[in-house]
Symmetry: C2
């Protein structure tokens, strides 16, 4: 009384879990799976779940009800939109307390975009970032940072011009090179003491 294929029951179970989570928003129990896949013993389900976990498809916390997690699902992360970024004013830099308390709005993004880092978002005000290919109304994802590595795109405060700019950062001997994303535009060079790194840009989102 065994299935012909190698393990088509396991495929059914995995699909059932997917559908169940999509539908109900939480994971099924062993007995939910039993009924949903027309099996007749919890031990069968138990066995297949163990195999699925060993093979890396799911994760379970032992003894915890409804704790099946599908490992190909990415978590969504709540990203606080802390304010705006404009040419003439420094950007809001989050303290540990502003994180959700002072958020104007809370975006919900996946690790696809946040890359697992603790980020915050800023809305771009005006056209001053156009040389970084950033439009009015775009949302930039920032990672808090005071320093930068070569090649990072940073939000830099230029003390002499009293303005913030988004450019690619390169450390050179005695000076810093800030390169626009738009390669048709020329880089600018500043003294290290005339610049203040306010954050690292890890993404841009434009909703139309």
């Amino acid at each position: 009384m065994r299935k012909p294929g190698k393990s088509q029951t396991r495929q059914r179970i995995l699909k059932f879990i997917h559908d169940f989570v999509d539908d109900r928003g939480y994971a099924p129990t062993v007995r939910d799976i039993l009924r949903g896949c027309s099996l007749s013993s919890t031990a069968v389900v138990q066995h297949h779940l163990n195999v699925l976990e060993r093979e890396g498809y799911i994760h379970r916390d032992p003894e915890v009800f409804r704790s099946i997690q599908l490992l190909d699902r990415k978590n969504t992360i709540r990203v606080p939109l802390l304010g705006s970024i404009a040419a003439g004013e420094p950007i809001p830099v989050p303290s540990s307390e502003t994180w959700t308390s002072e958020a104007i709005e809370v975006l919900q993004l996946t690790e696809e975009l946040t890359q697992g880092k603790e980020v915050y978002a800023l809305k771009v005000n005006g056209l001053s970032m156009m040389d970084a290919l950033i439009d009015d109304g775009d949302i930039v994802l920032m990672e808090p940072a005071n320093t930068a590595e070569d090649g990072d795109v940073v939000a830099a405060w230029l003390k002499d011009k009293q303005e913030v700019t988004l450019k690619r950062f390169f450390q050179e001997t005695g000076r810093i090179c800030l390169q626009p994303a738009n390669s048709q535009m020329k880089p600018i060079y500043v003294n290290p003491e005339d610049i203040e790194i306010q954050g690292r840009v890890i993404g841009v989102i434009r909703k139309l």
Copy 2:
């Protein structure tokens, strides 16, 4: 021995649920909340959960363990990355069957970005879209469309030039105006029969 504020306990509970779900991937039980919020009776938690549900913050399925769902969570949607978009070639337009079968990769995005529409994604190849403030490597979110309204940003195939372009669409008398996002650049005008709308752009994503 009652809390001073009006119902700060309820706030604590809601925050605890958020953190718990973020951390573990499934919802807490009544007793998890009890311990996590330093309360001493499940009935207290039960009461606050009822209020939270009545006020629309959460949803619970009666008698089901760990069934608390946070209603401000947006669903994540699997978006197929169907190919690339480059200057000299038409963009891949999805049939109903390519939807996930021919996907090069599957992005996972929230309704925040997809706006609830059925979208697909294309990776931008080259710098030809720079006048739309789109960089090499950016990902554009497309909604299938053959027509456009005034103001839409569309992917248009220009028959005479044999190239695809991303521009804002405006219908004028006898001609069509295609306006770059970069306002420093001039719009172009084409005959209605020289243009073919291949899709509507609803978003742009740049990962750095």
